[in-house]
């Protein structure tokens, strides 16, 4: 029995932390506030305030425990100030060179402190913040984003905290422009296509009430999992339901983890009958890109735009 409870507890904690991230995301600016007392951190208001960032010294020994934050730091030119990243940080290539065995899920504050950091960046899903505070180590929290504005705000906050305000502003501007362009380039369809986003091969999915849903929402796509809204945002759909819904598009976010491909989906018994499989509208989105909210979200948006164009070509002829 014990093992089952352990598994339940672990999964419960996982689900809880996902939910907690979602709830907290709106207040990520205020949760970052403790950092303001000990380091050059963003102001306590939600709006970025670059002028206050010049007040303190710029951190030279950053430890990142969040793969998303790692991507942001390197994208705004703060990579040279990073001394260590956690085991899950695998992008960009320069970050991999600084990979350590540090864990963002089960952080060991002693191991982190051993790097003598002057700024620790994490996602706030653990009690690490309080532990670092008690050691007097500045830390910045970037919880899971729920909206694109959350992402831009986190990038600007990191820019302010690391002395790269201009680069952060430029990155945000570029991202906004690229995303706007991708959305504008996508064909407008009379009848919005319906999609199924697959998190793993046992048919866990997401509703529109998540950041992933936000990405597809840019294009007006409709999510087949939305009928579960209100109970959970990460439902395990029944296979019968997916096939009977016959989604126009399937997005696989389980290619890296689980080896799912367009072919493996087509080989699932019964799936040939779905519109997406019969028209070849099965698209692979890198697991890491789909589960992070960093600068590469632009790639995600562009992939969805390409998928839209593909579907439009189908209906055109």
């Amino acid at each position: 029995m014990k093992r089952r409870f352990t598994a339940l507890a672990a999964a419960g904690a996982l689900v809880w932390s996902l939910a907690a991230c979602g709830d907290n995301s709106a207040s990520s600016a205020t949760t970052a506030a403790p950092a303001a007392t000990t380091a050059p951190a963003p102001s306590e208001t939600a709006a970025p305030a670059p002028d206050t960032s010049a007040a303190g010294p710029v951190p030279e020994r950053i430890v990142s425990l969040s793969p998303t934050a790692t991507e942001m730091l390197f994208a705004i030119g703060a990579g040279d100030q990073v001394v260590a990243v956690d085991e899950m940080s695998n992008y960009p290539a320069e970050a991999v060179a600084k990979a350590t065995a540090l864990s963002g899920y089960t952080p060991n504050v002693e191991a982190i402190a051993a790097y003598d950091p002057d700024l620790v960046v994490h996602d706030g899903s653990t009690d690490l913040g309080a532990q670092l505070d008690s050691l007097g180590i500045a830390n910045w929290v970037g919880a899971a984003a729920m909206t694109f504005d959350d992402i831009y705000m986190q990038i600007e906050q990191l820019g302010a905290a690391t002395g790269h305000v201009d680069e952060a502003a430029a990155l945000v501007a570029n991202m906004r422009a690229a995303i706007d362009a991708a959305v504008a380039s996508a064909p407008k369809l009379d009848k919005p296509p319906r999609y199924y986003h697959e998190l793993d091969p046992t048919y866990f999915s997401v509703t529109s009430n998540t950041f992933i849903g936000e990405v597809y929402g840019l294009f007006g796509l409709r999510n087949i999992a939305d009928t579960t809204e209100g109970t959970t945002d990460y439902p395990q759909l029944s296979e019968e339901f997916i096939i009977s819904q016959s989604p126009d598009l399937i997005f696989l976010a389980d290619s890296k983890c689980c080896g799912e491909t367009r072919d493996s989906v087509a080989q699932r018994p019964g799936w040939n009958a779905t519109s997406a499989v019969s028209t070849g509208s099965v698209f692979i989105i890198d697991d890491d890109i789909a589960s992070r909210w960093g600068p590469r979200v632009v790639d995600y948006v562009e992939l969805v735009a390409d998928a839209m164009a593909y579907v439009a070509d189908l209906s055109a002829g």
């Binding site: 579960t228 759909l237 096939i243 018994p269």
Partner: protein
């Protein structure tokens, strides 16, 4: 101990036909109800490719777990033993966790999916270890030392699994959904994969049902009556473990079936193994088919893991059985 089966032999005659009718009803209901609509409104493609293999697999898994549970209870003379107590589940779970930790994309290109194979080997190794440890300390005479050895092996395998999971946080959800039961992705090839093991295991176990009745009087007495106790015990344990490991490898860990069903059958039809084993097989199949229906439609279109449903039904029943036994003692 009370001997309900000492009642006139005719008492149990009706139970096999009745349970077969129940199984047929469960099969019909299982095939008719589902998220894609009832029989007639749902696509034949969905019913044939998705729903029917799932119903069939649920039946096979339920039958095997119940039969194995009843056999273990007989061979160890311990009513609380189920296929999981001897380390089968923990060993299989560890094997599956290791495959998930390797990365499913790494293993996707392999000619044979290693998941069921490694889970099967893990379950078998765990029981082998349990048997060796139990036999060396208890001289193989008592079922109690074996069960204690099973507890120790389970803890060991669980600890290793927790360590592997700790090092591979990214696969926690996959392992978790495997542990809570994987009927959600059942296909006909899963059915074909387990059926040979289940058939062989069931035949061996059913052939030993009379020996299990003799074993109830105790090892020494059974030996005096001419039963080769060690040989029977080994044959039953190996057959039950093989069947359990095979179904666990495709269905994940589905709890409580191996305890709930044999005890329900005992309450209804008496505790003679001649009746208990075939009835457990049939009722177990019906039970898991029926338990899977709420799994599919309760939160439609979302799934309720079958492990949750069986434990939710099983735990209160288990308490009831414990209470009844206390009163009887």
């Amino acid at each position: 101990m009370a001997e309900p089966h000492a009642l006139p032999a005719t008492r149990g005659r009706w139970w096999l036909p009745v349970s077969l009718v129940v199984l047929l009803g469960a099969l019909a209901l299982g095939v008719m109800v589902g998220p894609a609509g009832s029989w007639g409104s749902a696509d034949w493609n969905i019913i044939w490719n998705v729903r029917m293999p799932r119903v069939a697999l649920a039946g096979i898994v339920g039958a095997m777990l119940s039969l194995a549970g009843a056999s273990y209870q007989g061979v160890f003379r311990n009513p609380l033993v189920d296929p999981y107590l001897l380390g089968v589940a923990a060993g299989a779970g560890l094997g599956a966790t290791i495959v998930f930790a390797l990365g499913r994309s790494t293993t996707a290109g392999w000619p044979v999916d290693p998941l069921p194979v490694v889970a099967f080997v893990g379950g078998l190794l765990a029981v082998l270890l349990t048997y060796l440890v139990g036999a060396s300390f208890g001289a193989g005479r008592s079922g109690v030392t074996l069960v204690l050895a099973g507890v120790a092996v389970t803890s060991l395998a669980t600890a290793v699994q927790a360590f592997v999971l700790q090092r591979n946080n990214d696969v926690i959800r996959e392992v978790y959904s495997w542990i809570l039961g994987r009927l959600t992705t059942a296909t006909w090839s899963d059915v074909r994969l387990v059926l040979p093991y289940v058939v062989v295991s069931s035949i061996v176990l059913l052939l030993h049902r009379r020996h299990l009745d003799v074993l109830r009087v105790g090892d020494d007495e059974a030996a005096a009556l001419g039963t080769q106790v060690q040989r029977v015990r080994l044959a039953v344990v190996i057959a039950a473990t093989m069947g359990t490991a095979a179904v666990v490898s495709v269905s994940g860990l589905i709890g409580f079936v191996g305890i709930v069903v044999p005890h329900a059958v005992r309450l209804l039809a008496g505790s003679s193994y001649r009746r208990l084993l075939p009835l457990s097989l049939v009722i177990g199949a019906a039970f898991l088919i029926l338990a899977d229906i709420p799994g599919r439609v309760l939160q439609n279109p979302a799934e309720t893991p079958i492990g949750v449903v069986t434990a939710f039904l099983g735990a209160p029943f288990f308490i009831l059985v414990l209470r009844t036994r206390k009163v009887a003692a």
